[in-house]
Point group: C2
Chain length 136, copies 2
DNA sequence: TCCTACGATAGACAGAGTCCAAGTCAAGAA
DNA sequence: TTCTTGACTTGGACTCTGTCTATCGTAGGA
């Protein structure tokens, strides 16, 4: 995680307690927190941190490419710090749990030109849905 | 579309003017309207229809499997009446336009057992992103 | 140590969707 | 045809997620 903080400082980020705490909350594998969850965990360490700051910081991390924004349902977006290894998501329809998964094959290659309608297609996101062991 | 109305009646749906209008608005290919757009178009034919009724009716159509709910971004869900032929979606990052597409291959088959973490995986949704000819 | 521009804050605001109590009406029964 | 009833509709309040703005605070350079 200090890696991330170092990279951010290298990019000219002013380092504040709030930004540090948000970055620390997002540390780890298989982390897919909503903005509200990030705020709750950040506030446990730094009680006066505001929602607006959490949203601002998450937005900056996303635009710097350090965090991925995932919309697994129509509800709140989730934030995934595993931005440096391509992957897809497996979502439990019961409890909403999200796991990173690595399918083989390239979904982009499966879309024939005739099905692109003149679009410049740059990305394919796959969301697998099912029930996790606890919900099955 | 009268097909749909017949199927719904066959399932014990009470046929009201509101439900008929919502079903009619969703007729056609490559239709991906938000709830608000459905409401606006329905209200053009039946001015007093309420938002709650549109949401209720869309929810029922989805749970009957006659309409698919698509969350292409973190904003409003879209409703796709093309529920009886499997397909994926191609979304323009510029203007938000959505097209139905039919890639070959089965994304479900690309997810090895070792990457399923004990989940019962039943569905794979692919969202292709890029720029449409008008936005490129 | 002092300055100042960048960052944080609280709270108002907006969009999407849900919920509820009260009124309405489709469709089967008489 | 008329009656009855429970399913359907309505409007408005409410929740949740996210954005914006004016003001205050402070990290880091001079």
């Amino acid at each position: 995680m200090s890696d991330l903080l170092e990279r951010l400082r290298g990019r000219g980020w002013r380092m504040t307690a709030q930004r540090r705490v948000v970055a620390e909350v997002l540390d780890g594998d298989h982390v897919h927190l909503t903005a509200d969850e990030v705020h709750a965990r950040a506030a446990a360490r730094l009680p006066e941190i505001s929602r607006a700051t959490v949203y601002n910081t998450l937005g900056e991390l996303v635009s710097l490419g350090e965090v991925i924004e995932v919309a697994t349902d129509g509800r709140a977006k989730r934030y995934d710090p595993n931005a440096h290894r391509p992957h897809q998501h497996l979502v439990c329809s019961g409890c909403g749990t999200v796991r990173d998964v690595h399918p083989h094959g390239d979904p982009l290659a499966d879309l024939p030109d005739a099905e692109r309608f003149g679009f410049t297609v740059s990305q394919a996101e796959v969301t697998y849905r099912g029930l996790c062991p606890a919900c099955a």
